[in-house]
Each structure stands twice: as C-alpha cells, then as structure tokens.
C-alpha cells in the first residue's frame, strides 16, 4: 500500500514574530525552517502505513528549492521517495497549490492516483488556509476527512477518527482516500544521525509545477503583527518567599480560592 505525505517548509519561529520592512513576509534572516507540526505526523503515519502494508511512502512538497531540506527530513524519518514541485519562492495561493499537487499526484495516466492514501496536515502552520487538502481531494475525486487524530487501515478501507466535543466521530473511507491530520495522531520519530547522513545522498525528484489561472482571487496586501498589550509582568517576588504574595493574589484579586 503506497502512501504520500504532502508537506510545507515553514519558518521555525521562536518567542517573537518580526516582519520584513515591506510587511510581506516574516523576517527569517535569523530563523531556521521546519515542517508544519501537523505534517510531521502526516509523514510518520505515511511511513507506518507503508511499512505495515508492504508499500512505498513518498513525501511531496510544493515550495522553493530550499524545501529540499524538509523533504530530506522526511527521507531521514525513512520515507522512501521525495518529490519537490519547485517554485521561485513566491507564496502560492491555495487553489494554485492544490491544482499543482493534484497534477503531480494523478500520475502519468492523469486519472488513476498512484497511491492508496494521501495525507495532508489539517492546516499549514504559517498561512493556515484550511483548504488545500480538500481541494486536492475534490480534483482527484477522492474521499476526504479533515481534523484526523486516529487512523487504522482495515481491508481496503481506512477508518479515521476526529475529536468533537465530548467524544470522537468515526468515518470509514474506501481507499484510495485523502485525509487532513492533526498533531496527536502519533508521535513522530526523531531521525537518527545515520539516517540523516543517508538521506543526504538520496535523490529527490524535481518537477516544475504549473501555476493555473483562476477566476476570482484572494490577494495578500500586507501582514501585521497585532499590537500586544504586553508590558513586563508584575513580579510578586523571588523563589518560595513570593508565596504569601501569590496566595493574596489568588484569594483577594483573582478570587480563585
């Protein structure tokens, strides 16, 4: 059973988000890059399912040439193959991204998908448009469920779970299928140093994606880091000596005791 995990290269942010002067991007001059957290789980699940069912796990990304770094992380986690739909680094809109991914996923025949299960992150960490997976599934005519936190392969179907208030919804999809997964689905493995070294030698297939034209569009004007109301916290004291002041706060001001 073959699987594909679709992933995205995103900045690895820390305590503060700083914008570039033109307010178009996050200033990444002092930042590393990573994979959206939900997608780390997509890779892990793709690998486990392929391993358990004699298949191949592929990681697929649309992004700049540097997204090779994230694909190699996937290979180091022991995915079998990696494909990069290489862009010039501009931000692609969800419909363009979905069309290009669907083209790549539909394979040489252009109709039958060449995989059994395709996994997306529920939403990307950075742009969070919440729609690429659904749009790809619609283009490939595949069943799709978002927000997946449990997944079991069962005799030609995939049984998936989604958390709802007070319980879990269970869906049963015929394969081939696509899902949008959330962190918590599994515990993504850390790649060993040896696996990382090996992944550096593996080849990555590169394709030039086509940016389709669509009627109607959503266009980014600028980004804004919202005004925070932050100022330094009122320091109640140092070490255990601060406890009487904390108790006063909890009892008199916050009334939680």
């Amino acid at each position: 059973m073959d699987t594909v995990a679709c992933i995205k290269r995103v900045p690895d942010t820390g305590a503060k988000l700083t914008l570039t002067d033109d307010e178009q991007h996050i200033d990444t001059s002092h930042l590393g890059f990573t994979i959206s957290p939900h997608e780390e789980c997509a890779i892990e699940e793709a690998i486990q399912v392929a391993d358990d069912h004699d298949g191949t796990a592929t990681v697929l990304s649309l992004g700049p040439a540097d997204a090779e770094e994230q694909l190699r992380t996937g290979l180091a986690m022991t995915a079998d193959e990696a494909t990069l739909l290489e862009t010039d680094g501009k931000e692609w809109r969800p419909r363009e991204t979905a069309a290009a991914l669907a083209d790549a996923l539909s394979g040489d025949s252009g109709t039958d998908p060449e995989f059994d299960l395709c996994l997306f992150g529920n939403e990307s960490a950075d742009v969070a448009n919440h729609q690429v997976g659904v749009r790809v599934a619609e283009r490939l005519d595949l069943p799709f469920v978002a927000g997946v936190t449990g997944l079991t392969i069962d005799d030609g179907t995939v049984v998936v779970e989604r958390d709802v208030t007070g319980g879990t919804e269970v869906y049963e999809l015929d394969l081939p299928a696509a899902v949008g997964v959330k962190e918590g689905l599994n515990q993504p493995r850390y790649a060993s140093m040896r696996a990382k070294m090996q992944a550096r030698k593996q080849s990555i297939e590169r394709q030039d994606p086509v940016a389709s034209e669509f009627e109607g569009r959503i266009e980014k004007v600028r980004l804004e880091a919202p005004e925070s109301t932050e100022g330094a916290a009122e320091v109640l004291g140092e070490g255990p000596d601060a406890v009487p002041a904390v108790v006063d706060l909890l009892r008199d001001d916050l009334e939680v005791i």
């Binding site: 942010t13 305590a15 988000l17 996050i26 957290p37 809109r93 969800p94 419909r95 939403e123 960490a125 950075d126 969070a128 919440h130 729609q131 659904v134 749009r135 619609e138 283009r139 069943p143 469920v145 978002a146 927000g147 779970e161 709802v164 319980g167 879990t168 919804e169 269970v170 869906y171 999809l173 962190e183 918590g184 515990q187 009627e215 569009r217 959503i218 266009e219 980014k220 004007v221 600028r222 804004e224 880091a225 919202p226 100022g231 330094a232 916290a233 009122e234 320091v235 109640l236 004291g237 140092e238 070490g239 255990p240 601060a242 406890v243 904390v246 706060l249 909890l250 009892r251 939680v256």
Partner: protein, 322 residues
C-alpha cells in the same frame, strides 16, 4: 443576500455559528442585503425561534433525511446548489472543523476562493479583509475578489450580538439533488469520551508545565496545585514532545486553545506557538527561573524562581488556607 452556515444541536445554534452570523449580519447591514441561513437536519426547523433575534429573514433547511448525519461532500453539494439557486453575495461559515471543511468543499465545487478565519471585513468593490495566520499571532490583510465570497469567521473573535430589530423569520425547505456517491464520506458512529473532570478548553483555572518541569513525575506538584484551585493541568508542546504528557494536554497553536480566568504557566518560556493557545486567559501567572524569558513580558504576574521550590511551597500554603 448574505448567507450564513449555522451548525446546531437539536435546533439550538452553536456558539461559533452565532459568532459567524454576527459577522454575516455586519455585511448584510452594510449592503442593505437580506440575511439568510443554511442549516442541516430535521431539527433545523426549530432554528427560526432563536434566529429571529439575530435578524435572519430566511432559514433554508436542507430537506433530505440522509443529511441528518454529517456528510461533508453532501452538505457542501447542497450548499453549492443553494448558491446556484439564490446567488448570495457572500457565504459566512464558522471557523470550526465542519465549517472550514464544508466551505472548502464548496470552494472546490464552485471554483471559488475562500478566506479562512477572518477577523474583519470592509466593503469596497472587493472585500478588504483581515484574517488570522500563525494561529492568530499574525494578521494578514487581503483583498478577496470573487463572484461569491466564501469566508469563515475566526472562532472566539466575535461576540454573538442580536439584531436591533428582530426579523420575521421563515423556515423554507431546500431540496438538493444528491447522488448516493455524495454520501461516501459520512459519520459512521460517534464514540462518547469516557473522560471525566473539567476539559482543558473549558477549565476556569489551568496550571501548565513546560520543559522546565524536567520529567513526567514532577507534574504531580502541578496536579496538586490544579486540584486546590479546582482547575486542570496542561502542558507546552516541548513537554508533550518529551513524552511527559499526552497530546490532549497540549496548549497552543496545534493543541487546545484555553480561556481560563487564571493560567499558571510553570517552566514555560513563552514561544509564540504556545502563547496563541493561552491568549484567551484573563490572567497569566508565570513561574520561571529566567527573568528575561518571553513569558515574563506576556504574563500579568510573575514569580522569579524555581517551580520545584515555589509550587510545593504554594501547595503547602494553600492547604493551610483551607
């Protein structure tokens, strides 16, 4: 016409849907357009009683018994057919799992762009909107230009407000034509959670532990503190990745978003991804050894010190208070 997608439990609208409806009414009022609702399930006929107060003129109850169970493609295909029949200016859905999923399907079926987790919309020739990125730690200002605008409303960002004047709401059945194939994805069953106690998202007091906790056994102190404050325990992503706590306890962008009266953040540095998960807290008390940690700028109150000393002492003091 502005159309809003309303989720409901037995004919009683869900809170995020009322938030989305409030955004939808702002758009309807600004353009002097009627406000209408699409809802699913037999019990949607009871929605009229509540939605009158929100100024809803028409509730389109999608009439097909098979739709009582959630089926994303069938629900979206129904909305797409309603769009064909009524040609709304915009569709506003709640930024919930179902709201995002159904509207994304509608976007794909009708070949329309969609703006997720909107915060504000200003009307000009196009929609000048702002929406959340990075779980809400960044705002994107964008232009949405399309025949029908598809929007979801960011959860917890709008207060549901009733209209100045109640409407004379009519509930009308809408009958879509749906192939059996549209039902290939539907909820098979719902398994009730057997967990008792306060859920993280609803707790009034949350005690969170991060990397500074040092190991799973040290959460006992936080459990004791949470118990004496009638609260519950949460964790940062760093602590969950260490395997100290289950993912269900994770607070942050890819975990639970909390909105307690008090959040006690112990040994948590205050990364952006964590802070978007607790920005709904009325008060934050940080316990951290590092006075320069980011959390010290974001908290309301702080104790500079080792949580392994401060929390047990606090637990003793609270035991004496009783």
């Amino acid at each position: 016409m502005i159309l809003s997608f309303v989720e409901h439990a037995g004919g009683s609208p869900e809170e995020p849907s009322l938030e989305a409806l409030t955004l939808a009414r702002e758009l309807a009022t600004a353009t002097d357009a009627p406000l209408e609702v699409v809802a699913f399930g037999t019990e949607a006929s009871a929605l009229g009683d509540t939605l009158r107060a929100y100024g809803v003129e028409t509730v389109h109850r999608v009439a097909d018994d098979r739709l009582d169970t959630y089926a994303p493609e069938a629900w979206a295909e129904s909305v797409a057919q309603l769009l064909d029949a009524t040609d709304p200016e915009a569709v506003v859905a709640p930024g919930t799992d179902r709201g995002q999923e159904v509207l994304a399907h509608v976007g794909a079926k009708c070949d329309l762009p969609m703006a997720a987790n909107c915060l504000d919309v200003e009307l000009s020739e196009v929609y000048e909107l702002s929406r959340q990125r990075w779980g809400g730690s960044l705002v994107e200002h964008a232009r949405l230009d399309s025949d029908t605008k598809l929007l979801t409303a960011a959860p917890h960002e709008f207060s549901p407000e009733t209209a100045v004047e109640a409407a004379d709401t009519s509930v009308q059945p809408f009958e879509p034509t749906l192939d059996e194939s549209a039902f290939r994805v539907s909820v098979d069953r719902v398994e009730e959670s057997d967990e008792s106690g306060v859920s993280l998202g609803e707790a009034r007091v949350v005690v969170g532990g991060g990397r500074g906790i040092g190991g799973p056994e040290d959460y006992d102190k936080l459990e004791t503190l949470a118990d004496s404050l009638s609260g519950t325990v949460g964790a940062s992503r760093a602590a969950v990745n260490e395997g100290w706590r289950p993912h269900d306890d994770q607070i942050g962008q890819t975990g639970t978003k909390i909105s307690p009266d008090l959040y006690v953040a112990c040994g948590i540095s205050g990364a952006v991804q964590h802070m978007v998960g607790c920005k709904g807290a009325d008060n934050i008390l940080a316990v951290n050894t590092d006075p320069e940690a980011a959390i010290m700028q974001k908290a309301d109150y702080a104790v500079v010190g080792d949580l392994h000393e401060v929390v047990p002492e606090l637990n003793n003091a609270l035991a004496d208070e009783r």
